[in-house]
Amino acid sequence: MRAAQIGLGVALCVLVLAFPQLVNAYWLTVAILALFYAIVTASWALLAGYAGQFSFGHMAFVSLGAYTSGLLVMSFGLPIPLGMAAGVAMCAVVGAGIGYTCLRMRGPYLALFTVAFSEVLRIVIVSENEVTGGSGGLEVTPLFHTRSDAPYYYFGLALLAVSLGLMVWLVRSRWGLFFRAIRENEEAAAAAGVKVVRFRVLVFAISSSFAGLAGGFFGHYIGILTPDIGSVDQMGLVVAMAVIGGAESLYAATIGALLCEALVEALRSYEQWRMVLFGALLLVTIRFARNGLLALAFQAVRQRGLRAVVPRKATP
């Protein structure tokens, strides 16, 4: 079965790399957005699925990264890569701050606090419209000045590959063990010598950084930023993508995001109904397949003995 595995892998790679040539501009846009959501979703899966920190304020960091980069580039003429890096740095610091502030909060209180934080940030962005452009939007210099969006696709793909690679490396390291231990039982983790404070702050800082990176990419692609990117509805979308895919597996969450975004666009003709369907799918998944539909699918396929095709380890 080795040959089949390699063959499939190669075919997939060719497909992914040649994608912009194979589809029209509309679907290319969808793919680029899917890549954006994939990075955000994977970073949320790291925070909530792996480390057990159910933050509903994750989109605040997407917004923060986007606006930081956008404002620095527009107001000070900073080159975009520096702007994006500044966005990431800002998110790392604020993320660490939030992680530290929430140390004594567990479960639902953490969720409440972070969603409040996210809404406050959104309100500030809306109110301070002289600086941020408010609800009207902030014009942001695009990353590339080509007719086709293909460079964005490849850039996004590279960002996803790097981000996912780093996150996978992280969860496979001892830090990954510590994150999961904290998720399972914080008191026991402390008794086992895990520096809980340090790692809770770290996981917030790291996941927020990736969210900020994705935000920067998003801003400089879309060209016009609105506060909506940090809204609770966007958070809901990301949560849905992670949960439907499988919040405790980085791969499942990433693929979940890609598929969900594709699905949402494919059902475009149903307009608002697709979001209702999506919401219903989320509820059904939580209710009946808590580990995620993709994770469920992997399990079913594995039980039918197709080990060669599907990765054996459920983590990451």
């Binding site: 001892r174 231990a181 399972e184 026991a188 008794a191 010598g193």
Partner: protein
């Protein structure tokens, strides 16, 4: 064994001076002095609610004392976190087993193994497997901790504490809800570990098991220490009898 006088020469591992804790209006632990020296096997008993678990929680960094001092190896350890106590080779188990349920048995062992400074995966895995072998859990290595039986879980928790290479181990009710065979097994394991040089403070309600195991017995009642001596000395102590009778 009435060998207490010889142990006075042994170095002090962990010491509580005037340790106090109150919850709201309730004084759970009242100015407790407790010292554990290297090589000791101490039993800590007392009626329900006398403050045993609270004392352990304070001596392992899980609870901050309201007053008093803690010293580890004669250096102050006030305000240290639980992970800091673990790093100082103070281990513990919990009254209700607290495992990493969705992680495998081996992973449960690797967490403390790798949390130690300068630990490598190979060393930690090797040590983990050695301890699992000692505990008779090797064949369960890949199983998720939540799927173990109650007794196996207790042993795994002990193993997890062992990964810290602890000098002193606080065991909170290791015999609770355990069948007689496993109880005997646990007693033997503790005795073997003690012979290796590890010190123990064992809290339990199973007086028979405690008596078989320990050299020194500390009795608490209503948050205070009311007796501290050999098993024989304590057994005849009037105050102790009254404490249990009245509890």
């Amino acid at each position: 064994m009435a060998d207490a006088p010889m142990l006075i020469e042994a170095p002090m591992l962990i010491e509580a001076r005037g340790l106090t804790k109150n919850f709201g209006g309730i004084l759970a632990v009242n100015a407790l002095d407790l010292a554990v020296r290297q090589g000791e096997l101490v039993g800590l008993i007392g009626p329900n609610g006398c403050g045993k678990t609270t004392t352990i929680n304070m001596l392992t960094g899980h609870l901050a004392p309201a007053a008093g001092h803690i010293l580890v190896h004669d250096t102050p350890a006030d305000g240290l976190s639980a992970s800091a106590f673990a790093a100082r080779k103070v281990g513990r188990t919990f009254q209700i087993t607290q495992l990493f349920g969705r992680m495998s048995v081996l992973e449960n062992m690797l967490v403390p193994g790798l949390a130690r400074a300068h630990a490598t995966w190979t060393e930690a895995t090797h040590t983990a497997r050695r301890h699992l072998d000692f505990l008779g859990l090797s064949h369960l290595e890949k199983l998720q901790a939540k799927n173990l039986s109650g007794g196996q879980q207790k042993l795994l928790e002990l193993g997890r504490a062992l990964m810290l290479d602890p000098e002193v181990l606080f065991l909170d009710e290791p015999f609770a809800g355990v069948n007689p065979f496993l109880r005997d097994e646990i007693i033997v394991l503790i005795q073997k570990l003690h012979a290796e040089g590890r010190s123990f403070v064992v809290v339990d309600h199973d007086i028979e098991a405690i008596q078989r195991l320990v050299q020194r017995l500390v009795v608490m009642a209503r948050g205070a220490k009311i007796a501290d001596g050999t098993v024989e000395e304590v057994r005849d102590n009037q105050e102790v009898l009254l404490a249990y009778a009245g509890a």
